[in-house]
Symmetry: C3
Subunit: 194 residues, 3 copies
């Protein structure tokens, strides 16, 4: 089965510090010949007079959210967008520092999808008297919260392209709060790229 | 409990542009002494005359696949292998730009594993009249597809070693299509390393 | 909703080799003004006289563990901590090279959480005579192991801050063994940062 390819770019790194000039990249359509991508990569490097790989990292505290799934894309972007704009190509890494909440990427439009996902999680993870859990000291919602946290995970990595998170049209970042008692949640955000 | 360690390598970066010479790395067996790894790292940097970190990014369109789990390792490799060959050490990041399909790593040999995984997903995520979903405008398979997408996730990061994806013998990249109506799926692939 | 931000830092890269001097970073409180983060980033780069991005990669073999979830943070750290200390800012990537075990981040204190998570996995993934699996040649626990591996995943990315894994107070790295017959498990660990 043949794959179609959409426009892409390759980026190199050179020693000049970032602040000498705005980044420049070499745009091209990838070809199927084995030589061309590397050749393009090299020419991109020759032409990139200001590409120095850089790192950015910060810890963001998201205010308490009620139990359920919440779209937090705009909250995250508000914290990183001016820094994102400095990256032509890279990766954004989000790490939730908790074991009773989770991060996932899903529908950014109809909030019913968030409600139905919460319904699903509560349906497959038993809670209360019927639950077989040994770990109950922190309340009936605690052990289910730990399980849900591992099901969806606490970490996301999203590509950065031309200064923006390169997500699909319908994708958004969700913070899923699995505890009944809402608390602030910390996310360590790391940006890396050129 | 003592860990065994297999051969590994450490790589540094220096200012010389990538195209002056092919990359060189300093191979060694890691020891348990605290000094040695760092010392080896430094010597690797001293010896690496052509290690410039580089970035590559492209968007690949995978043609429509029927509902179910599909092994797409070769399709992905066909798109990136010539670029992979330029990386001695790094990471390959795959990001599926959709909320009703998913990416996961699993068995690359017996296709029954793909069928059984689809059977499992359909078993635990209710669909149709019996399902409690509010989000039904896009069809009975849509809300289950969103849930399955968050269960497996839309992003993968795979180590690059000596110009290849460093997966286990039996590991392959799966694209899981959760909708009944197959559509093309976009994956943003980002390579980063030296 | 306004976000609170805790102290963070931004890191640049310059051409000087790592071993000329210890890394320096520019610490500051992020402000909500659009200019300040970038300005801080640039000044951080101007001041960083020894930030060269570096890569480290090794493969660790974890000795056999019985079926269940196991806290392996200290085992992982023992293998990478001296190298971690050389990174001021970065990412640590763990990649389990198997399809019948998984890596996840969860509670590091009460081992009941590990036992309850194993109970949950066994509850939702049918095993034995009642199971609908076609893939049974490798034993009744094999197909369930593949499913559990994709549910939790085989890869983790954790931020590195000031030479340490920047996890939350209660977070730990779990290796989940889904087979009855314990075998050694390989994890490819990749460190990248400055």
């Amino acid at each position: 089965m043949q794959l179609q390819t959409v426009p892409s770019f390759f980026c190199g790194v050179n020693p000049k510090p970032l602040f000498t000039a705005p980044p420049r990249t070499h745009q091209y359509r990838i070809s199927s010949s084995s030589a061309s991508p590397i050749r393009s990569l090299l020419s991109a490097e020759k032409e990139a007079d200001s590409m120095a790989a850089k790192w950015a990292q910060k810890t963001v505290v998201i205010p308490p959210h009620r139990r359920g799934c919440h779209l937090v894309t705009s909250k995250i972007l508000r914290e990183i967008e001016q820094d994102l704009s400095g990256f032509k190509c890279g990766l954004a890494h989000l790490f939730l520092q908790h074991t009773s909440a989770s991060l996932t990427i899903n529908e950014n439009y109809d909030s019913d999808v968030q409600d139905d996902t919460e319904t699903f999680l509560n349906k497959i993870v038993p809670e209360g008297r019927s639950a077989p859990w040994k770990h109950t000291l922190e309340g009936p919602d605690d052990m289910p919260a730990h399980i849900k946290s591992s099901m969806f995970g606490c970490t996301l990595t999203i590509p950065i392209t031309d200064g923006q998170l390169n997500m699909g049209t319908w994708q958004g970042i969700w913070l899923c709060e699995h505890r009944d008692h809402a608390t602030p949640r910390k996310i360590v955000i790391t940006l890396n790229g050129i």
